[in-house]
């Protein structure tokens, strides 16, 4: 998260400018509360209050204005409907133009249930090695929203299915 500081500016009895910087200011505190604290600090001095500036520092190497972006993806158990299970068990598989077929799904977590959804596709073609493509999609309006997606990869047996649980962490 970007670091916040507050700079209190005042003038002493000779008219000289004086400034005091307060570090580690709480970004969640209302701006008016920040101002009141700065003014309360000034009231302990013989200086005349001028103004207070809020200073934000962002390390652009590791952060953005919205804070550190660390998307985390985890493969976790999820629920498949019976129809989805039946589709694979009966080998009623439809491949797409890339020769891939659906083997799993992506759900966004409760933190942001509207942000994302998607599919996991598995493909084998004669000229290529087996590949897995994870295709999360972001819904319109949530393009700037980081979300945690849970993926499920299923192993299907005749009548029952088991979900595999794997954790993958991707860091920005």
């Amino acid at each position: 998260m970007a670091k916040l500081s507050m700079q209190l500016k005042a003038k002493d009895q000779t008219g000289k400018s004086v400034s005091t910087t307060f570090t580690n200011v709480n970004p969640e505190a209302p701006d008016n509360d920040k101002l009141q604290v700065a003014m309360a600090m000034n009231s302990l001095t013989a200086n005349t209050y001028s103004s207070t500036d809020l200073i934000k520092t962002i390390n652009l190497d590791t952060e953005t204005d919205a804070g550190k972006q660390t998307p985390t993806f985890s493969l976790a158990k999820t629920t498949f409907t019976q129809a989805e299970v039946n589709a694979l068990v009966s080998q009623n598989i439809t491949t797409n133009s890339d020769g891939q077929f659906w083997i799993g799904k992506v759900n966004a977590t409760n933190d942001n249930p509207n942000a994302g959804y998607g599919s996991i596709l598995f493909g084998i073609t004669q000229s290529e090695t087996p590949n897995i493509k994870i295709s999360p999609n972001v819904k319109n309006g949530y393009e700037q929203t980081a979300f945690i997606g849970t993926f499920a990869v299923g192993v299907f047996e005749t009548d029952t299915y088991q979900s595999a649980e794997v954790t993958v962490t991707i860091t920005a």
Binding site: N24, N26, Q36, V37, L44, A46
Partner: protein, 80 residues
């Protein structure tokens, strides 16, 4: 020419945060007659509003530990 004396005062407010972080806030040119009540009121304000937070984990403001007034007198000696 006689020695030249300059006096500066500062108020050192030592603050404590619940993660164990301590920080000293230095205010220059403090008033000469600061009442204890002003300090306790400031402490209450910092505890309630949580504007200043701990360095290590953004922990909550705990309390004002000590307040020290430091008066420094410098004498520029006349060596003529």
């Amino acid at each position: 020419m006689a020695d030249v004396l300059t006096t500066t005062s500062s108020l050192k407010i030592e603050t404590y945060f619940v993660d164990g972080d301590t920080r000293t806030i230095t205010l220059k040119n403090p008033k000469s007659n600061i009442a204890t009540e002003q300090i306790t009121n400031l402490q209450t304000m910092l505890q309630t509003k949580q504007v200043l937070i701990g360095d290590r984990s953004g922990a909550a403001f705990g309390k004002i530990s000590t307040v020290t007034r430091v008066d420094e007198t410098k004498a520029h000696l006349d060596i003529s």
